[in-house]
Protein backbone atom coordinates (compact mmCIF):
# COMPACT_ATOMS: atom_id res chain seq x y z
CA UNK A 1 0.00 0.00 0.00
CA UNK A 2 1.30 3.45 -0.81
CA UNK A 3 1.55 6.24 1.72
CA UNK A 4 -1.43 7.98 0.16
CA UNK A 5 -3.63 4.90 0.41
CA UNK A 6 -2.70 4.47 4.09
CA UNK A 7 -3.56 8.03 5.01
CA UNK A 8 -6.69 8.21 7.17
CA UNK A 9 -8.08 11.15 5.27
CA UNK A 10 -8.17 9.28 1.96
CA UNK A 11 -11.44 7.34 2.44
CA UNK A 12 -13.18 10.49 3.68
CA UNK A 13 -11.79 12.57 0.83
CA UNK A 14 -12.68 9.86 -1.64
CA UNK A 15 -16.19 9.67 -0.17
CA UNK A 16 -16.67 13.38 -0.82
CA UNK A 17 -15.41 12.94 -4.36
CA UNK A 18 -17.64 9.92 -4.92
CA UNK A 19 -20.72 11.72 -3.66
CA UNK A 20 -19.94 14.66 -5.93
CA UNK A 21 -19.20 12.53 -9.00
CA UNK A 22 -22.10 10.16 -8.33
CA UNK A 23 -24.54 13.02 -7.88
CA UNK A 24 -23.20 14.59 -11.02
CA UNK A 25 -23.71 11.46 -13.09
CA UNK A 26 -27.19 10.88 -11.73
CA UNK A 27 -28.10 14.48 -12.51
CA UNK A 28 -26.58 14.18 -15.99
CA UNK A 29 -28.40 10.98 -16.93
CA UNK A 30 -31.84 12.08 -15.90
CA UNK A 31 -32.71 14.11 -18.95
CA UNK A 32 -31.06 11.65 -21.32
CA UNK A 33 -33.09 8.72 -19.99
CA UNK A 34 -36.32 10.69 -20.13
CA UNK A 35 -35.72 11.94 -23.67
CA UNK A 36 -33.61 9.43 -25.61
CA UNK A 37 -34.51 10.96 -28.97
CA UNK A 38 -33.15 14.35 -27.90
CA UNK A 39 -29.98 12.75 -26.59
CA UNK A 40 -29.54 10.72 -29.78
CA UNK A 41 -29.73 13.97 -31.72
CA UNK A 42 -27.13 15.47 -29.40
CA UNK A 43 -24.84 12.49 -30.03
CA UNK A 44 -25.38 12.77 -33.79
CA UNK A 45 -24.55 16.47 -33.64
CA UNK A 46 -20.99 15.65 -32.61
CA UNK A 47 -20.61 13.83 -35.97
CA UNK A 48 -18.21 11.36 -34.39
CA UNK A 49 -20.10 8.08 -34.38
CA UNK A 50 -21.41 6.33 -37.49
CA UNK A 51 -25.17 6.69 -37.84
CA UNK A 52 -25.81 3.03 -37.00
CA UNK A 53 -24.17 3.43 -33.58
CA UNK A 54 -25.82 6.70 -32.56
CA UNK A 55 -29.04 5.22 -31.17
CA UNK A 56 -27.49 2.25 -29.33
CA UNK A 57 -25.01 4.65 -27.75
CA UNK A 58 -27.77 7.09 -26.82
CA UNK A 59 -29.76 4.29 -25.21
CA UNK A 60 -26.92 2.68 -23.28
CA UNK A 61 -24.82 5.56 -21.98
CA UNK A 62 -27.43 7.30 -19.78
CA UNK A 63 -28.23 4.06 -17.97
CA UNK A 64 -24.55 3.31 -17.49
CA UNK A 65 -24.20 6.81 -16.07
CA UNK A 66 -27.10 6.13 -13.73
CA UNK A 67 -25.67 2.89 -12.39
CA UNK A 68 -22.22 4.35 -12.06
CA UNK A 69 -23.69 7.26 -10.11
CA UNK A 70 -25.69 4.98 -7.82
CA UNK A 71 -22.70 2.70 -7.16
CA UNK A 72 -20.41 5.64 -6.40
CA UNK A 73 -22.90 7.17 -4.00
CA UNK A 74 -23.79 3.97 -2.20
CA UNK A 75 -20.24 2.62 -2.06
CA UNK A 76 -20.77 -0.65 -3.91
CA UNK A 77 -18.15 -1.80 -6.42
CA UNK A 78 -16.64 1.64 -6.09
CA UNK A 79 -13.40 1.06 -7.99
CA UNK A 80 -15.19 -0.53 -10.93
CA UNK A 81 -17.65 2.37 -11.00
CA UNK A 82 -14.72 4.80 -10.84
CA UNK A 83 -13.09 3.01 -13.77
CA UNK A 84 -16.25 3.29 -15.87
CA UNK A 85 -16.54 6.94 -14.83
CA UNK A 86 -12.99 7.60 -15.99
CA UNK A 87 -13.58 5.82 -19.30
CA UNK A 88 -16.83 7.73 -19.89
CA UNK A 89 -15.20 11.06 -19.10
CA UNK A 90 -12.24 10.27 -21.34
CA UNK A 91 -14.71 9.40 -24.09
CA UNK A 92 -16.60 12.66 -23.57
CA UNK A 93 -13.33 14.59 -23.69
CA UNK A 94 -12.37 12.96 -26.98
CA UNK A 95 -15.77 13.93 -28.40
CA UNK A 96 -15.41 17.48 -27.13
CA UNK A 97 -11.90 17.75 -28.51
CA UNK A 98 -13.07 16.45 -31.87
CA UNK A 99 -15.96 18.93 -31.98
CA UNK A 100 -13.69 21.81 -30.93
CA UNK A 101 -11.09 20.84 -33.52
CA UNK A 102 -13.77 20.78 -36.19
CA UNK A 103 -14.96 24.16 -35.03
CA UNK A 104 -18.48 22.98 -34.32
CA UNK A 105 -20.44 25.57 -32.44
CA UNK A 106 -22.66 23.39 -30.29
CA UNK A 107 -23.77 22.98 -26.73
CA UNK A 108 -22.23 20.29 -24.58
CA UNK A 109 -25.44 18.29 -24.22
CA UNK A 110 -24.03 16.98 -20.96
CA UNK A 111 -26.90 17.92 -18.67
CA UNK A 112 -29.61 18.99 -21.10
CA UNK A 113 -30.31 18.74 -24.78
CA UNK A 114 -28.77 21.07 -27.33
CA UNK A 115 -31.97 23.03 -27.66
CA UNK A 116 -32.25 23.52 -23.92
CA UNK A 117 -28.65 24.51 -23.47
CA UNK A 118 -28.13 27.29 -25.96
CA UNK A 119 -26.09 29.22 -23.45
CA UNK A 120 -23.66 26.41 -22.67
CA UNK A 121 -21.45 26.22 -25.73
CA UNK A 122 -18.55 23.81 -25.73
CA UNK A 123 -15.15 25.36 -25.18
CA UNK A 124 -11.79 24.56 -23.69
CA UNK A 125 -13.39 25.35 -20.34
CA UNK A 126 -15.67 22.33 -20.84
CA UNK A 127 -12.55 20.25 -21.47
CA UNK A 128 -10.96 21.57 -18.29
CA UNK A 129 -14.10 20.80 -16.32
CA UNK A 130 -14.17 17.24 -17.62
CA UNK A 131 -10.46 16.88 -16.90
CA UNK A 132 -11.07 17.85 -13.28
CA UNK A 133 -13.83 15.25 -13.00
CA UNK A 134 -11.57 12.69 -14.62
CA UNK A 135 -8.92 13.36 -11.99
CA UNK A 136 -11.50 12.82 -9.24
CA UNK A 137 -12.49 9.52 -10.82
CA UNK A 138 -8.88 8.42 -11.11
CA UNK A 139 -8.23 9.34 -7.48
CA UNK A 140 -11.09 7.13 -6.37
CA UNK A 141 -9.95 4.34 -8.68
CA UNK A 142 -6.36 4.28 -7.53
CA UNK A 143 -6.46 5.37 -3.90
CA UNK A 144 -9.85 4.47 -2.46
CA UNK A 145 -9.03 0.82 -1.80
CA UNK A 146 -11.35 0.51 1.20
CA UNK A 147 -14.29 2.73 0.36
CA UNK A 148 -16.80 3.85 2.94
CA UNK A 149 -20.24 2.67 1.99
CA UNK A 150 -22.82 -0.08 1.91
CA UNK A 151 -20.40 -2.78 0.82
CA UNK A 152 -18.02 -2.06 3.69
CA UNK A 153 -20.88 -1.94 6.17
CA UNK A 154 -22.18 -5.27 4.93
CA UNK A 155 -18.72 -6.84 5.17
CA UNK A 156 -18.20 -5.56 8.71
CA UNK A 157 -21.55 -6.97 9.82
CA UNK A 158 -20.79 -10.31 8.22
CA UNK A 159 -17.38 -10.41 9.90
CA UNK A 160 -18.85 -9.67 13.31
Amino acid sequence: MSAIEQHRIVPVLALAMRLYLGGLFIAACWHKIAHPAAFALDVATYQLLPLSLVNPFALAVPWIELWVGVLLVTGVRVRAAALVTAVLLAMFMVSLGYALAKGLDLSCGCFASQSAAKHDPISYKTMLRDSAWLLLGLFVLFFDKEPIGVEKLFRLRTAS
Binding site: P36, A37, L41, V54, E65, A80, K145, E151
Partner: protein, 196 residues
Protein backbone atom coordinates in the same frame (compact mmCIF):
# COMPACT_ATOMS: atom_id res chain seq x y z
CA UNK B 1 -3.29 -9.79 -1.29
CA UNK B 2 -6.86 -9.47 -2.44
CA UNK B 3 -8.74 -6.22 -2.19
CA UNK B 4 -11.05 -6.21 0.82
CA UNK B 5 -14.62 -6.61 -0.17
CA UNK B 6 -13.87 -8.00 -3.59
CA UNK B 7 -15.74 -11.19 -2.55
CA UNK B 8 -13.41 -13.24 -4.69
CA UNK B 9 -10.58 -13.77 -2.26
CA UNK B 10 -10.71 -17.47 -2.80
CA UNK B 11 -11.45 -17.56 -6.49
CA UNK B 12 -7.97 -16.72 -7.71
CA UNK B 13 -8.98 -13.49 -9.46
CA UNK B 14 -6.68 -10.55 -8.84
CA UNK B 15 -8.32 -7.38 -7.50
CA UNK B 16 -7.48 -5.43 -10.62
CA UNK B 17 -8.99 -8.06 -12.85
CA UNK B 18 -12.03 -8.09 -10.59
CA UNK B 19 -12.39 -4.33 -10.98
CA UNK B 20 -12.19 -4.73 -14.74
CA UNK B 21 -14.75 -7.53 -14.70
CA UNK B 22 -17.11 -5.50 -12.50
CA UNK B 23 -16.69 -2.51 -14.81
CA UNK B 24 -17.67 -4.67 -17.79
CA UNK B 25 -20.69 -5.94 -15.86
CA UNK B 26 -21.76 -2.36 -15.08
CA UNK B 27 -21.51 -1.45 -18.74
CA UNK B 28 -23.41 -4.53 -19.91
CA UNK B 29 -26.07 -4.11 -17.24
CA UNK B 30 -26.46 -0.43 -18.07
CA UNK B 31 -26.75 -1.18 -21.77
CA UNK B 32 -29.38 -3.87 -21.08
CA UNK B 33 -31.36 -1.41 -18.98
CA UNK B 34 -31.22 1.06 -21.86
CA UNK B 35 -32.45 -1.56 -24.32
CA UNK B 36 -35.25 -2.69 -22.00
CA UNK B 37 -36.34 0.86 -21.26
CA UNK B 38 -36.64 1.52 -24.98
CA UNK B 39 -38.47 -1.76 -25.50
CA UNK B 40 -41.16 -0.98 -22.95
CA UNK B 41 -41.37 2.71 -23.60
CA UNK B 42 -44.66 3.88 -25.00
CA UNK B 43 -43.63 7.44 -25.81
CA UNK B 44 -40.38 8.69 -27.28
CA UNK B 45 -39.21 5.25 -28.33
CA UNK B 46 -36.32 5.44 -30.78
CA UNK B 47 -35.25 3.04 -33.50
CA UNK B 48 -32.53 0.55 -32.55
CA UNK B 49 -30.54 1.61 -35.57
CA UNK B 50 -31.12 4.96 -37.16
CA UNK B 51 -31.49 4.70 -40.94
CA UNK B 52 -32.47 8.22 -41.86
CA UNK B 53 -29.69 10.72 -41.11
CA UNK B 54 -30.42 13.12 -38.30
CA UNK B 55 -31.33 16.60 -39.32
CA UNK B 56 -28.37 18.27 -37.72
CA UNK B 57 -28.09 22.00 -37.81
CA UNK B 58 -24.71 22.92 -36.43
CA UNK B 59 -23.78 26.52 -36.93
CA UNK B 60 -20.16 26.36 -38.03
CA UNK B 61 -18.07 29.42 -37.28
CA UNK B 62 -18.02 31.83 -40.18
CA UNK B 63 -14.56 32.06 -41.69
CA UNK B 64 -14.57 35.81 -41.29
CA UNK B 65 -12.31 38.17 -39.44
CA UNK B 66 -12.44 41.76 -38.29
CA UNK B 67 -12.35 44.52 -40.83
CA UNK B 68 -12.30 48.18 -39.91
CA UNK B 69 -14.88 50.54 -41.33
CA UNK B 70 -13.46 53.79 -42.67
CA UNK B 71 -15.17 56.93 -43.91
CA UNK B 72 -15.21 57.55 -47.68
CA UNK B 73 -12.96 60.58 -47.21
CA UNK B 74 -10.38 58.72 -45.13
CA UNK B 75 -6.77 59.57 -45.93
CA UNK B 76 -5.94 55.87 -46.20
CA UNK B 77 -7.61 55.79 -49.59
CA UNK B 78 -5.00 58.10 -51.06
CA UNK B 79 -1.92 56.57 -49.48
CA UNK B 80 0.38 54.93 -52.01
CA UNK B 81 0.80 51.89 -49.77
CA UNK B 82 -2.92 51.17 -49.96
CA UNK B 83 -4.34 48.65 -52.34
CA UNK B 84 -7.92 49.55 -53.21
CA UNK B 85 -10.28 46.79 -54.22
CA UNK B 86 -13.65 47.24 -55.87
CA UNK B 87 -16.10 44.48 -54.96
CA UNK B 88 -18.80 45.48 -57.47
CA UNK B 89 -19.63 43.87 -60.78
CA UNK B 90 -17.31 44.43 -63.81
CA UNK B 91 -20.02 46.58 -65.44
CA UNK B 92 -20.30 48.88 -62.45
CA UNK B 93 -16.51 48.94 -62.22
CA UNK B 94 -16.22 49.93 -65.88
CA UNK B 95 -18.72 52.72 -65.37
CA UNK B 96 -16.89 54.27 -62.41
CA UNK B 97 -14.16 53.24 -60.04
CA UNK B 98 -11.53 54.76 -57.86
CA UNK B 99 -8.28 55.25 -59.74
CA UNK B 100 -5.88 52.39 -59.13
CA UNK B 101 -8.55 50.09 -57.80
CA UNK B 102 -8.59 46.45 -58.81
CA UNK B 103 -11.89 44.74 -59.51
CA UNK B 104 -12.68 41.51 -57.67
CA UNK B 105 -16.48 41.18 -57.79
CA UNK B 106 -18.31 39.71 -54.84
CA UNK B 107 -21.04 37.34 -56.00
CA UNK B 108 -23.90 37.14 -53.54
CA UNK B 109 -25.39 34.11 -55.27
CA UNK B 110 -22.19 32.12 -55.01
CA UNK B 111 -20.01 33.57 -52.26
CA UNK B 112 -16.39 32.49 -52.59
CA UNK B 113 -15.29 29.28 -50.97
CA UNK B 114 -12.45 29.34 -48.48
CA UNK B 115 -9.88 28.25 -51.08
CA UNK B 116 -10.77 31.20 -53.31
CA UNK B 117 -10.53 33.60 -50.40
CA UNK B 118 -7.10 32.24 -49.49
CA UNK B 119 -5.97 32.51 -53.11
CA UNK B 120 -7.07 36.13 -53.28
CA UNK B 121 -5.45 36.80 -49.92
CA UNK B 122 -2.14 35.54 -51.37
CA UNK B 123 -2.61 37.71 -54.45
CA UNK B 124 -3.25 40.75 -52.29
CA UNK B 125 -0.21 39.96 -50.14
CA UNK B 126 1.93 39.59 -53.26
CA UNK B 127 1.13 43.20 -54.18
CA UNK B 128 3.33 44.28 -51.21
CA UNK B 129 0.75 46.79 -50.08
CA UNK B 130 0.69 47.75 -46.45
CA UNK B 131 -3.06 47.93 -46.25
CA UNK B 132 -6.12 46.95 -48.18
CA UNK B 133 -9.28 48.98 -48.54
CA UNK B 134 -12.33 47.40 -50.10
CA UNK B 135 -15.40 49.20 -51.28
CA UNK B 136 -18.59 47.61 -52.54
CA UNK B 137 -22.04 48.58 -53.68
CA UNK B 138 -22.86 50.32 -50.41
CA UNK B 139 -26.06 48.35 -50.03
CA UNK B 140 -27.21 46.66 -46.89
CA UNK B 141 -25.48 44.22 -46.62
CA UNK B 142 -22.51 45.79 -48.35
CA UNK B 143 -20.50 43.63 -50.72
CA UNK B 144 -17.33 45.52 -49.80
CA UNK B 145 -17.78 44.80 -46.14
CA UNK B 146 -18.41 41.10 -46.85
CA UNK B 147 -15.28 40.82 -48.98
CA UNK B 148 -13.23 42.61 -46.34
CA UNK B 149 -14.43 40.29 -43.59
CA UNK B 150 -13.79 37.19 -45.68
CA UNK B 151 -10.29 38.35 -46.56
CA UNK B 152 -9.61 39.17 -42.92
CA UNK B 153 -10.72 35.61 -42.12
CA UNK B 154 -8.32 34.40 -44.81
CA UNK B 155 -5.36 35.86 -42.95
CA UNK B 156 -5.08 39.40 -44.36
CA UNK B 157 -4.32 42.06 -41.79
CA UNK B 158 -4.69 45.85 -42.04
CA UNK B 159 -7.92 45.56 -43.93
CA UNK B 160 -10.70 48.11 -44.06
CA UNK B 161 -13.86 48.72 -45.99
CA UNK B 162 -15.45 51.99 -47.01
CA UNK B 163 -18.68 52.80 -45.26
CA UNK B 164 -21.34 53.52 -47.83
CA UNK B 165 -19.28 51.88 -50.58
CA UNK B 166 -18.98 53.22 -54.11
CA UNK B 167 -21.95 55.66 -53.91
CA UNK B 168 -20.42 57.43 -50.92
CA UNK B 169 -17.04 57.59 -52.62
CA UNK B 170 -18.51 58.85 -55.85
CA UNK B 171 -20.37 61.60 -54.06
CA UNK B 172 -17.11 62.85 -52.56
CA UNK B 173 -15.12 62.48 -55.76
CA UNK B 174 -17.23 63.73 -58.64
CA UNK B 175 -14.12 64.66 -60.62
CA UNK B 176 -12.26 61.40 -60.10
CA UNK B 177 -8.92 62.56 -58.73
CA UNK B 178 -5.93 60.86 -60.21
CA UNK B 179 -4.21 58.43 -57.90
CA UNK B 180 -0.92 59.44 -56.35
CA UNK B 181 0.41 56.14 -57.59
CA UNK B 182 -0.71 52.54 -57.63
CA UNK B 183 0.70 50.02 -55.18
CA UNK B 184 1.99 47.75 -57.91
CA UNK B 185 4.12 50.56 -59.29
CA UNK B 186 5.66 51.51 -55.99
CA UNK B 187 8.41 49.90 -53.97
CA UNK B 188 7.13 47.67 -51.21
CA UNK B 189 6.62 49.20 -47.85
CA UNK B 190 8.25 47.93 -44.71
CA UNK B 191 4.84 46.77 -43.45
CA UNK B 192 3.08 44.36 -45.70
CA UNK B 193 -0.16 42.51 -45.67
CA UNK B 194 0.13 38.93 -44.61
CA UNK B 195 -1.29 35.96 -46.40
CA UNK B 196 -2.12 32.79 -44.50
Amino acid sequence: MNEPGSMVENKGITPNRRVLLDACLIVVFGALCGICSNLFRSAERIEWVQHKPYDIVVPCPEPVGRATAIAPNHAKLLEFTTLVMDARSPEEFAEWHLPGAINVPFDWLGPPVQAEVEQLAKRVAASHSAQLVVYGDGDNPDSGREWARLLAGGGIRNIAYVEGGAPALRKLRPNLPQPVTTPSATPSSSTTLTAP
